[in-house]
């Protein structure tokens, strides 16, 4: 029995030490690597690294090579004199493999992107983690988010224990390309009325999406559409409601068709540079100097009840009050036609010239006495009985009001725009759902995970967006959860002072990239300026910080420097192994006696 076991070991050892295995392993390895380079060329470096070079089976293959090299060296033990070169060579290979193992095991490789002035004391590694920190419990755990490969099946959740702290972390949703969807649902507890409105314009099919207004939620009780506004208000008594629905009629204090008001000319920064009373302009053109140039404003017409018909400005005799002026601006750039509406100050540019060459824009201020109507406004009232009412007014003083039910629509008095109450929920709540399917065209939003923490019988749930830490309190403990690249502390701080990418003279080709950085390590009293450029990395605390690329800022000047940071503790071992291997190889090749070829024995063909 013992005898046989020994021989099985011997057979296995013989096989592992055999030269034929070596040849087979070498050829397969070479074939595998060449396939990998073609794979990398057709996909990406990242994919090749992840699916080939940084896999367990690749490591296992290297291990098998190492076993083969070791066994073949041991097989010839005790070594004779002519084995020196052979043994040294194979020892060199084993040392190199060990060195790469040390780097693989204890090495760090990451990136650091710094804007000018910015500083950092940790780098981002390539792998992604879900890190949970509970500072008071002195717990910090980097969880492996393996679900980013295959996703999480429906109704399943992944459970992680956070060290021995007793905190349990659950992940039940993972969205690679998320999109946020808002839902308004009935919630008897909230007492927060919600109304969903929709604007439609006759003859315009491209209506806006329905919008929810929430009465008791600050920021959601009104809607600002730019040229008009919608408000949602609660009116506690019947009297107040009546008064709000039927205010005294608003009238301009003048004969509407008189040329009144003034034209304000503004520059590109919206500063008023000229105020021209319309009355003066009807009598004579207005001349002024601006930016060392002479300008003349000539009135073409004043249209009190303006409308656009067939693309032309017309006056509707019995139409709504909508004062507009049309004038010419003569300047060094030539003559520009301007059109300004008093009620719709933003409209002029869309009906007139697209871009003013002079950079000047006109605003027409037409006086209307009733200051309560300062904008186009629709108000939706929630009456004392819980019914809805509306009141619509425009700057021209037109008014409409009445009761409104779910599904009804009414004229807002603004340019034929109608509003429909699509839905009304007397007591509602907003919920957000995150669903898959954000951006298209090969882009994606930052991934999101849903996390639940359990501790001492309490639970807390939160969505965590990639790279954004979230704070969660559960069982009296405040925890920080971050889903993103693993961070690795440098043990010192780097601050980017300045980044430069000077070009070769007269070209756009960079001659070098260089970063001036401040190296700060208070523990060792170090605070000094260093220069990092290609082929001149910064070495500190066993890290090597080297210039890898840069990003251009808004002004086109490079302002973000990107460094690669690495710590490879196996490198000296690899150097040593390489020297050993080279020496062994030279000994083996110069020795005349024993070598691969046994040359030149003429009978050995």
């Amino acid at each position: 029995m013992n005898e046989q076991r020994k021989s099985i070991f011997a057979i296995i050892f013989e096989f592992l030490a055999s030269l034929k295995l070596a040849v087979i392993l070498l050829v397969i390895f070479a074939a595998m690597l060449s396939w990998a380079t073609f794979y990398e060329s057709s996909t990406s470096t990242e994919a090749a690294q992840r699916l080939i070079y940084k896999t367990l089976w690749f490591d296992l293959y290297l291990f098998l090579l190492g076993v083969n090299v070791t066994c073949s060296a041991l097989k010839r033990f005790p070594w004779k004199k002519h084995h020196i070169g052979f043994v040294i060579t194979h020892t060199g290979i084993i040392i190199i493999l060990l060195g790469s193992l040390v780097t693989r095991k204890f090495g760090v490789e990451g990136t650091l992107a710094l804007l000018e002035g910015e500083s950092a004391d940790s780098i981002r590694l390539e792998d992604i983690v879900l890190s949970v920190t509970a500072p008071r419990l002195h717990v910090r755990e980097d969880l492996n988010p393996w679900f980013i490969q295959d996703g999480i099946p429906q109704n399943k959740e992944i459970q992680y224990a956070i060290g021995d702290s007793g905190i349990t972390c659950y992940v039940d949703r993972y969205f690679f390309n998320p999109r946020t969807v808002e839902n308004v649902i009935s919630d008897p507890q909230s007492g927060n009325p919600a109304v969903c409105i929709l604007f439609t314009q006759a003859g315009d099919s491209s209506s806006m999406a329905p919008q929810w207004l929430m009465l008791d939620q600050p920021g959601r009780e009104s809607l600002d559409l730019g040229i008009a506004k919608v408000l949602f208000e609660r009116i506690p008594t019947q009297e107040a409601l009546l008064e709000r629905l039927n205010p005294p009629e608003i009238k301009p204090d003048l004969s509407a068709d008189d040329p009144q008001g003034e034209i304000l000319l503004k520059d590109a920064q919206n500063n008023v540079i000229q105020t021209i009373p319309l009355k003066h302009l009807t009598a004579m053109p207005h001349t002024f100097a601006y930016n060392n140039a002479q300008f003349i404003v000539k009135l073409i017409e004043f249209v009190p009840r303006a409308g656009i018909h067939d693309g032309k400005l017309v006056n509707h005799e019995s139409g709504k009050l909508n004062p507009a002026v049309k004038y010419e601006l003569h300047g060094p750039q030539g003559v520009e036609n301007h059109l300004a509406f008093s009620l719709f100050p933003d409209l002029g540019s869309s009906h007139g010239k697209n871009e003013s060459l002079s950079g000047l824009q006109g605003q027409f201020n037409y006086p209307i006495k009733d200051s309560s109507v300062s904008e186009n406004l629709v108000t939706i009232f929630l009456g004392p009985s819980g019914n809805l009412f509306y009141r619509a007014a425009n700057l021209a003083g037109q008014l409409a009001s009445g009761e409104i039910k779910k599904g009804d629509s009414f004229d807002t008095t603004w340019n034929n725009i109608h509003m429909t109450v699509v839905d009304f929920i007397p007591t509602a709540q907003i919920t957000h759902d995150i669903v898959e399917g954000g951006r298209a065209m090969g882009m994606h939003n930052d991934p999101i995970v849903r996390i639940r923490l359990e501790y001492k019988g309490e639970t807390a749930e939160e969505y965590a967006r990639f790279g954004v830490p979230v704070s969660m309190t559960v069982g009296g403990e405040t925890c920080t959860v971050e889903f993103g690249p693993r961070k690795f502390p440098l043990g010192f701080t780097l601050q980017l002072i300045d980044f430069n990418a000077p070009n070769y003279p007269g070209t756009n080709r960079p001659a070098r990239f260089e970063s001036d950085v401040m190296l700060i390590d208070p523990d060792n009293n170090i605070n000094e300026q260093r220069k990092i450029y290609m082929n001149n990395p910064l070495a500190y605390n066993h890290f090597l910080v080297y210039q890898s690329s840069y990003q251009k800022g808004r002004n086109g000047e490079p302002d973000q420097s990107i460094f690669s940071v690495a710590r490879a503790p196996g490198t000296p071992i690899i150097y040593f192994g390489s020297i050993v291997l080279t020496i062994g190889m030279i000994i083996m090749f110069v020795s005349k006696k024993r070598n691969f070829m046994q040359a030149p024995p003429s009978e050995s063909f």
């Binding site: 030269l19 034929k20 040849v23 070498l26 050829v27 390895f29 070479a30 690597l33 060449s34 380079t37 990398e40 060329s41 470096t45 090749a48 690294q49 080939i52 010839r76 084995h83 052979f86 790469s100 780097t103 090495g107 070769y504 003279p505 007269g506 070209t507 080709r509 960079p510 001659a511 070098r512 450029y533 290609m534 082929n535 990395p537 890290f543 090597l544 080297y546 890898s548 690669s564 940071v565 690495a566 490879a568 196996g570 490198t571 690899i574 150097y575 390489s578 080279t582 030279i586 090749f589 024993r594 691969f596 070829m597 046994q598 040359a599 030149p600 024995p601 003429s602 050995s604 063909f605």
Partner: protein, 554 residues
């Protein structure tokens, strides 16, 4: 931007009458030749600028045997050149795409600028480039036609002639200007240089050689006085002109070819004859010129001569000769120098034949370390030389199997030589690869990252080590080693050329290019046919009866 100007220009010149233009080859051009110009990020003599420009536009330095500087001044003086068929297009699919006359290789600016297909292609290519989409071969060829056209136009308009240095006090990045754009000098100075320049152009138009000489000498003096601090040394310009005109690599491959033929004849004779020694002397002279050319290039570019594909092919040729010289001195056999001189001719001719850019261009930042370039790139390139020489030896070895199978003494000797060459190659390839790793570790922080170039260097190493081990197991015999040494060189070709021209990914991205694929393919097919023929002969011969060498003797 430039695209529209090409077509706008067309309307102006198309109306001019056609007439043959004679470039002023007989003019005294030397005063202009060494005029420094800042072009593509490098200070060079006008001679180089003119030659490189003519090469880009016409495919040759000396188009129709005309002096390139004469061509340049003629282009500046005569807008009529737009009628001349001088823009080279030799990529057939591009001619088909543009509906051009396929029997020609040169086309006039006017016929190309008016080509509707070309205009559409430019827009398509521009759109792809904006979106960072890789261009296919046809598109990149059409893109280079666009480059030729705009260069032609810019040269004719004088916009490329940046010979005016910035005034004293400008920073090191400052561009040089053309005479008409020059700025920062007094009106007087500017007026004087403009007057000289216009006299120069007029003298070309009027074919007035003495006025030309006077104006060019004056221009040269005026330029040199502007900013003497940064103005390049005339000595450096002269050296580059000497390199351009001496053509050391052309001379050395001719010498290698003569040496090769003489060596072949000497095989029938006793070894130490006068014929052998004279051919050896020619061989060494060729090597000296090859070395001299590489040294000149290094002095001009200020870096080791291995920073682009052209230089590396020339350097591999140099390395083959160097190894052969050493082995010849050790073994005193004619094989090394004979094979090496043939391979040397191949390498130096290929460097000019293949579409590798021979211009000296500034380096990308990552390569700007002469120290590492010298020790890593030179070592790894020398391993290519050793394996190329091994490949040549293997061919001779296989040839003996084919024609002289009874000469076992010769076969044994050749097998030893081949084995020694493989050893040298393996040591250099290993050392070069490790030194590359050391460079990577010292400047990028990691020794090894499975970058395609690194990986292919390792694959080559593994391949050659597998050959040595398989020889030892007895799976391969001397014949098999010779066959595998021929095939092993394919791995070197992939590492050397394929990673940059076929895979075109990875960190060694500074040397990417396209073209030359058909030469490599033809070489590989020829090798396969050769190996099949030899193998068939070998199988039927008596060699197979011998028992293999016993393994596990170590």
């Amino acid at each position: 931007m430039k695209r529209t100007s090409v077509f706008a220009f067309l309307t102006i010149v198309v109306l001019l009458p056609a007439q043959a233009i004679e470039p002023p080859n007989h003019f005294p051009l030397d005063a202009l030749r060494d005029l420094p110009i800042l072009n593509n990020g490098r200070y060079k003599p006008l001679d180089t600028f003119a030659g490189e420009t003519m090469k880009t536009i016409t495919g040759r330095w000396r188009f129709n045997k005309n002096d390139h500087v004469a061509m340049l001044v003629s282009l500046l003086a005569f807008p009529e050149w737009t009628h001349e068929t001088m823009i080279r297009i030799d990529y057939l699919p591009a001619k088909i795409e543009l509906d051009l006359d396929q029997s020609r290789n040169h086309y006039s600016f006017n016929e190309l600028a008016g080509n509707a297909g070309l205009q559409q292609a430019f827009e398509r290519i521009g759109e792809k480039q904006r979106r960072n989409i890789k261009l296919d071969r046809l598109e990149s060829e059409l893109g280079s036609i666009f480059h030729q056209l705009s260069l032609f136009q810019e040269v004719m308009n004088g916009n490329e002639l940046t010979i005016v240095p910035p005034p004293p006090g400008a920073d090191e990045e400052a561009a040089w200007h053309t005479i008409s754009q020059a700025d920062g000098y007094s009106q007087e100075t500017l007026g004087a240089m403009r007057e000289t320049y216009s006299r120069l152009i007029t003298s070309v138009r009027q074919a007035n050689a003495s006025a030309f000489e006077q104006a060019s000498l004056q221009l040269r003096t005026q330029m040199a006085q502007l900013n003497p601090q940064i103005y390049p040394q005339i000595k450096e310009m002269e050296r580059e002109i000497h390199y351009n005109h001496f053509r050391p690599f052309l001379k050395s491959w001719i010498l290698y070819l003569i040496a090769f033929l003489l060596f072949l004849f000497s095989f029938g004779l006793e070894r130490k004859t006068a014929l052998y020694w004279s051919s050896f002397a020619i061989f060494v002279l060729g090597f000296a010129l090859n070395t001299y050319g590489l040294l000149l290039r290094s002095l001009i570019s200020g870096r080791p001569p291995v920073s682009n594909m052209y230089e590396s092919v020339v350097f591999v040729g140099w390395g083959i000769i160097a190894f052969a010289l050493i082995f010849e001195l050790v073994y005193r056999e004619r094989w090394f120098v004979t094979i090496a001189s043939a391979l040397g001719v191949c390498m130096l001719v290929l460097a000019d034949l293949l579409p590798f850019d021979p211009n000296i261009e500034p380096l990308v930042p990552v390569l700007r370390s002469n120290y590492w370039l010298l020790i890593h790139v030179l070592t790894i390139t020398l391993s290519y030389s050793a394996f190329a020489l091994a490949m040549g030896l293997a061919h001779v070895n296989l040839g003996i199997y084919f024609y002289l199978p009874h000469r076992r003494d010769l076969l044994a000797q050749m097998s030893l030589f081949l084995y020694r060459m493989l050893q040298v190659g393996v040591v250099f390839l290993f050392a070069g690869t490790v030194l590359g790793g050391v460079w990577a570790a010292e400047s990028w922080g990691r020794f090894w990252g499975w970058d395609p170039k690194e990986t292919w260097a390792l694959i080559s190493l593994l391949g050659y080590i597998a050959i040595l081990h398989a020889r030892h197991t007895g799976w391969l015999r001397d014949f098999g080693v010779a066959v595998c040494s021929v095939l092993g060189f394919w791995l070197i070709l992939m590492t050397w050329y394929g990673v940059n021209f076929i895979l075109a990914t990875g960190l060694h991205s500074y040397g990417f290019g396209s073209g030359g694929g058909k030469y490599v393919l033809a070489y590989m097919i020829a090798e396969v046919i050769f190996l099949i023929a030899v193998a068939m002969k070998y199988k039927t011969s008596a060699f197979t009866k011998f028992t293999p060498v016993s393994s596990n003797e170590l």
